[in-house]
Symmetry: C2
Subunit: 150 residues, 2 copies
DNA sequence: GGACACTACATGCACGTGCATTCAATGCAA
DNA sequence: TTGCATTGAATGCACGTGCATGTAGTGTCC
């Protein structure tokens, strides 16, 4: 009775559900494990990572908030508050941009870089376990377990 | 100086970022368009869809909350409240399960089924536009536009 | 120089989410 | 039957998010 999906649409839906499931389990694992072991959320880690990459690739010691925005899938306000949290935790500093004083320059602190370097192996490991099939460094970060939400 | 990722790890990270980006833009578009045109969030739509599928495939008129849980990537509490919202909107009904009176049986109302049928074409269209490349039904649901968060 | 539109970021507010807890119902054992 | 662990779902609470708005700084046109 009810209209049915065409085969193409059914494929699309199946693809979408698979994508959602993979994202949910992986993101959840990242949030939980990074949170437990390093006191970082997934997005916090990503911001630190982009900060590191930005510095490395452009030789700059810091990035504007507006440079960070497109890389992290967060609203402008969420990013603003996330940076506030990182600053409060002493992992980054916020300072006025000299050239355009509306802008804010975000810089990694030494503690921020250290925290990132410490967390990265776990981040890669979680990715390997969930995305790469079964090539994660077995035994390096505990069992796969974790019910999470998905 | 800082330790670098192995090529395999770099691939993993790239794959993960792509996944995140695709999910963010698609989910955002779904939420926005379904919300604007049908008063449904992405998760609300998914619950209705699973309800419809459950009925079709098993000939049952309703599903237990615990049957719904694994299919939607939400915590138990979030699912509970989401169902409360759907009930308040008159799209589903909650009733006690006769066999196990701890359980709650969720049933689609006529309005719920109608709303789902109305929203489904748009849902499929958004998926087609974002997942399928460029095979979305052009012109059937307005321009792709929308900055969203991603 | 002054008015205006625009951009970069921060903040008030409402809302959805997860965690921990609670309450009711069930199953099992003594 | 009583007692206890377990399960299904709802709820108090804290928190992160997005939207709308506010504030400050920039650039342009008159």
């Amino acid at each position: 009775m009810a209209e049915l999906d065409s085969p193409a649409q059914a494929d699309l839906v199946a693809q979408w559900r698979e994508l959602l499931a993979l994202r949910a389990t992986t993101a959840c694992a990242l949030d939980r494990e990074l949170g437990e072991r390093h006191g970082l959320g997934m997005s916090e880690f990503e911001v630190l990572e982009h900060l590191v990459e930005g510095c490395v690739s452009e030789g700059r010691p810091a990035l504007r908030v507006s440079d960070l925005a497109p890389t992290v899938h967060l609203s402008q306000s969420a990013l603003s508050r996330l940076i506030a949290r990182l600053e409060k935790a002493g992992l980054v500093t916020r300072s006025m941009c000299e050239l355009d004083r509306r802008g804010v320059v975000i810089a990694l602190t030494e503690a921020g870089r250290e925290r990132y370097e410490q967390a990265r192996p776990l981040h890669r490991d979680v990715l390997g376990r969930h995305l790469g099939g079964s090539e994660g460094a077995v035994g390096s970060a505990g069992p796969v377990g974790g019910a999470c939400t998905g």
